[in-house]
Symmetry: C2
Subunit: 219 residues, 2 copies
C-alpha cells in the first residue's frame, strides 16, 4: 500500500518532468540539477561560476529551500534571472514546482538553467526535474563514508564535486576511500576537487558547466 502511493507520486512527477523537458527543448535550454547535503556549498559553487563568467553562456537559476529567499538573493547580486522555490518544509523539489518556476523566468534568454535542490542526500534523488545532468556535491567535512551510506545519489550523478578541499588539512577525510566509494557505484563518473575559497578546480567546474550548455546547443 505504502509503496503504491510512492509509485503514484513518482509517476506523476515523471509525467510532468516530460513537459518540463519539452519546454527546455523548445527554448534550447540545458538544465542541471545540483544535489547535496545541506551546507555542502552548492550556492557558493554557482556564485563562483557566475563570478568567473561563462563566456557568453546565459545562466538562469532556480533555488530550492524549505524556507527563506536567502539563496536567491545571493544569486540575484550577479544580475542573472533567478527564482526561489520554497517547499514550506518539503524535503525535495518536484517537477511541478519547476514547471511553475519556468513561468517566472525569461526562457528565451537562458542557455543553461541551474537548479539547486533542497539540501538533502536522500529524497531529491528519486525526482526527475527534467534535467540533462546531475551534479552531486560532497564537502570534505562530511566524511568519506557518504557514497557508501547514501549510494543512490552517486548512481545517477553525471559529475561529483568534492568540495571545500582547502579544509583537508584540518579534517580526517580519506580521499582514496571516497573515490573508491564513488567509483564502486559508478566507475567512470568524474570527481572534481574544488575549493571556491582557494580556487582549486574552479576552472574545471566552469568548463564543465560551459560544456553542458554547448552540448545542448550542438544537438
Amino acid at each position: 500500500m505504502k509503496v503504491d502511493v510512492v509509485q503514484k507520486v513518482l509517476k506523476a512527477n515523471d509525467d510532468i518532468a516530460k513537459l518540463v523537458r519539452a519546454r527546455f527543448d523548445e527554448y534550447g535550454i540545458s538544465c542541471i540539477n545540483m544535489i547535496s547535503a545541506p551546507g555542502s556549498g552548492k550556492t557558493t559553487l554557482i556564485e563562483t561560476a557566475l563570478k568567473q563568467g561563462l563566456s557568453g553562456v546565459r545562466i538562469g537559476v532556480i533555488e530550492g529551500d524549505p524556507e527563506t529567499t536567502r539563496d536567491a538573493e545571493r544569486i540575484a547580486k550577479y544580475d542573472v534571472p533567478v527564482v526561489q522555490i520554497n517547499t514550506a518544509g518539503g524535503c525535495h523539489l518536484e517537477s511541478q514546482l519547476v514547471l511553475q518556476a519556468l513561468d517566472k523566468l525569461p526562457l528565451d534568454a537562458i542557455d543553461l538553467l541551474i537548479i539547486e535542490n533542497v539540501g538533502n542526500l536522500v529524497c531529491p534523488v528519486g525526482f526527475d526535474l527534467g534535467e540533462k545532468s546531475r551534479v552531486a556535491v560532497v564537502s570534505v567535512t562530511e566524511g568519506q563514508d557518504k557514497p557508501f551510506k547514501y549510494p543512490r545519489l552517486f548512481q545517477t550523478a553525471n559529475i561529483v564535486i568534492l568540495n571545500k578541499v582547502d579544509l583537508l588539512p584540518y579534517v580526517p577525510f580519506d580521499v582514496e576511500e571516497f573515490k573508491q566509494g564513488v567509483h564502486g557505484i559508478q566507475p567512470d563518473v568524474p570527481i572534481l576537487h574544488v575549493s571556491c575559497t582557494q580556487g582549486d578546480g574552479v576552472e574545471q567546474w566552469v568548463n564543465w558547466l560551459k560544456g553542458q550548455a554547448d552540448k545542448q546547443t550542438n544537438e
Copy 2:
C-alpha cells in the same frame, strides 16, 4: 489527497511511538533522538561521550542509515549494545523500525538509549520515535543560515550542538547570526559549542547526556 496520505502515515507513526515510549517507561530507559545533516558529526559525538565514560549510566545505541553497518561498527568498539537500522534508501527513521530494534537490545541493561537518525535536516523532524529529548547538530562548515532555511528541527530540539568549532578559523561562519536564528525560533534552547577533536564543550555534552538519564531515573 496527498496531505491525507501524509497524515495517515504520521498518525500510524505516532501510535507506534506510544508503544515504544511505554517500553521505555517499563524499563526506566531515557531516549534521545539525534538529528542533523549528513556528516555533521553525530557518530563522533556519541563515540566521544563513550570514550569519556558516563559514570555508571549504561548506554545503548540505535544507528540509522540508508545503507551499511559502518556507524554501528564504530560504536560496537566501545562494547555497548548497538543495533543498526538500514532504511534501504529511506530518508528518516520511523517508530516501527525502532520498535523492531528494541527486540535486539538488552533493555534491562540500558539507562540511556541514543538514537542516531538518518542524516537529513528535514524528514526525520516529523517522526516521533518515543524519545524524551531531541538533539539538533549543526557543524560550522554548513553555514549559519541553517536555522533560517530549515527551521522545523530547531522548533523541536531540546539542545542544539554547534559542532566542529575547531574549524571556525577556516570557514566563513557567523556565530552570532546562527544564535539569533536558533533563538528566534526557540528563545531558551541551549546551544553547546563542541569540538570532539579539540575537546571544547565535551564535558558539557557528557553532563547533558548524564542529566537525561538522571531525569528519567528520578521520575
